[in-house]
């Protein structure tokens, strides 16, 4: 639950693939018939195959990848949580028009928790494990693909099961792909402190997207999603935390990737708007610049900025000068001091390196630093009394095609 494992740094969870074709080319037969061998040769080059989940045509080769990630966050005077997360991913054609994609992640989490605001004196030690898996089966037709997916996540006090159905349709010229996806998630919550027994949450999601090859060097994607959840949203590990039993979330995401022909580099950008029935509005900007050093090395600096307003029922706890602990001030029917529901801004700065060993193998490494401050909220006016939170994220991995 939220404060018991108030952490990050692992894979999976809410991680369905992007849903529309980015650069899905024509199927091999169409390509061959209409455009000759040049395009075929380009598409057949290792590493040029569109990622599964983002194309209509069936996969032409398989991919297996593994990662080992370490996450550690801290606030002034306290190292809070460390998570170690190995993960595995595979995508493969399994017949001429079928593809399979799956992933498996295990999180080892330990550290100080819970802290129901920024006070550190009540911190205690905790440890938890989480195992998560996803699977997706895709059937491709001439310009249509249908994907059936499932996700499972299990930890000591939380279990989540999800299923999804997605339809992707490519335009006649293969420059545009429409996607519509529906998902249902069943969550079961059983806090170790028995604050809630048999608590459940049900969520239905609908996603729509369109991906367009804008020019021969630009691809854009617009995705809109709506999620409606009903059930238990409280944090049972916080002293005062009473939230509405329904949460409706809307996102609109615009992504734009631009290829710079003169250097062979790529600029990837995105903007996401988020709104929910808790009263939170958020804006997130992402940018990554993939710099090709030579045929084997790509270095990618990344920058992300996130800003959000507070939930309607978030309250600013009062720190008593004698006691020191944040004093719960409950003013309404709903109340929560969860800092993730507060108003703040966050910046992530990182760099990633990809080293292509040969036509099949690629190694990658990533290092990121995340920092969250209330004063960094866009336009100011962040929630008072919150200690800055910083996190380091390191990750190494490999990818092999087959």
């Amino acid at each position: 639950m939220s404060s018991k494992i108030d952490f990050a740094g692992s894979a999976l969870a809410r991680c369905a693939p992007s849903d529309a074709t980015a650069v899905a080319g024509p199927t091999p037969s169409q390509t061959s018939a209409r455009f000759g061998s040049i395009t075929l040769a380009a598409l057949a080059l290792p590493g040029l195959v569109a990622p599964i989940g983002a194309q209509v045509a069936p996969l032409e080769e398989g991919v297996i990848a593994a990662k080992f990630g370490v996450y550690e966050d801290r606030q002034p005077g306290l190292t809070r949580v460390r998570a170690i997360s190995p993960s595995l991913y595979i995508a493969s054609p399994i017949a001429s028009s079928w593809s399979f994609e799956g992933s498996l992640t295990h999180d080892n989490v330990s550290g100080a928790s819970p802290r129901w605001h920024s006070s550190i004196s009540s911190a205690s030690r905790m440890a938890d494990h989480r195992t998560a898996a996803t699977a997706k089966l895709t059937k491709s037709f001439e310009r249509v693909a249908v994907a059936l997916g499932g996700a499972y996540s299990d930890e000591q006090d939380y279990r989540s099961r999800a299923g999804s159905l997605e339809l992707r349709i490519a335009s006649a010229d293969n420059n545009r792909t429409w996607s519509i996806a529906f998902a249902h998630t069943d969550d079961n919550i059983f806090p170790t402190n028995r604050a809630a027994r048999g608590a459940t949450r049900r969520t239905n999601e609908l996603g729509l997207s369109v991906t367009q090859n804008w020019t021969k060097h630009d691809v854009v994607q617009l995705a809109i999603s709506r999620a409606e959840g009903r059930g238990y949203y409280n944090d049972p590990y916080k002293i005062v935390d009473i939230r509405p039993r329904e949460r409706d979330q809307t996102t609109a995401t615009l992504r734009w990737n631009h290829f710079i022909a003169s250097s062979g580099d790529a600029l990837r950008t995105s903007y996401r708007f988020y709104s929910d029935s808790f009263g939170i509005r958020a804006h997130t900007l992402d940018a990554a610049y993939a710099k090709a050093l030579n045929d084997r090395w790509i270095v990618t600096p990344t920058l992300r900025y996130h800003t959000q307003s507070a939930a309607n029922f978030y309250y600013d706890p009062v720190y008593d000068p004698v006691v020191g602990e944040p004093f719960p001030v409950v003013l309404g029917r709903f109340a929560s001091p969860d800092h993730r529901l507060s108003a703040f801004g966050a910046v992530t700065v990182g760099v990633r390196a990809d080293w292509k060993l040969d036509s099949r193998w690629t190694l990658d490494a990533k290092l990121e630093r995340y920092e969250q401050r209330s004063s960094w909220r866009l336009g100011g006016g962040g929630s008072p009394g919150l200690a800055p939170l910083t996190a380091l994220i390191a990750q190494i991995g490999f990818t092999r095609t087959f």
Partner: protein, 85 residues
């Protein structure tokens, strides 16, 4: 040219401005709409031009932010939940 991004009443004025800013950046950088022919898609097909080309990395990042921030989603549906938020 009047560029309509989203309804301001639904998404708010600030997001409309940010969205339109992105479009204007695209347009001003010479990205007039000109869909490529099939034989011109070689650069678009490169891994570095993919959305979420590294699935594990994308999933890890989404999970990280899901556990630290209130906002989530935007790149797909049906990934399931977890107890981290």
């Amino acid at each position: 040219m009047k560029l309509v991004f989203f309804g301001a009443s639904f998404f708010g004025r600030r997001s409309v401005l940010l969205g339109q800013a992105l479009f204007f950046v695209a347009l001003s950088s010479g990205c007039a709409y000109n869909p490529p022919a099939a034989w011109e898609r070689g650069d678009l097909a490169k891994v570095k031009m993919k959305f979420d080309a590294d699935r594990l990395d994308a999933m890890a990042a989404q999970h990280t932010y899901f556990s630290k921030e209130a906002a989530s989603g935007g790149t797909g549906v049906g990934g399931g939940g977890c107890g981290c938020n």
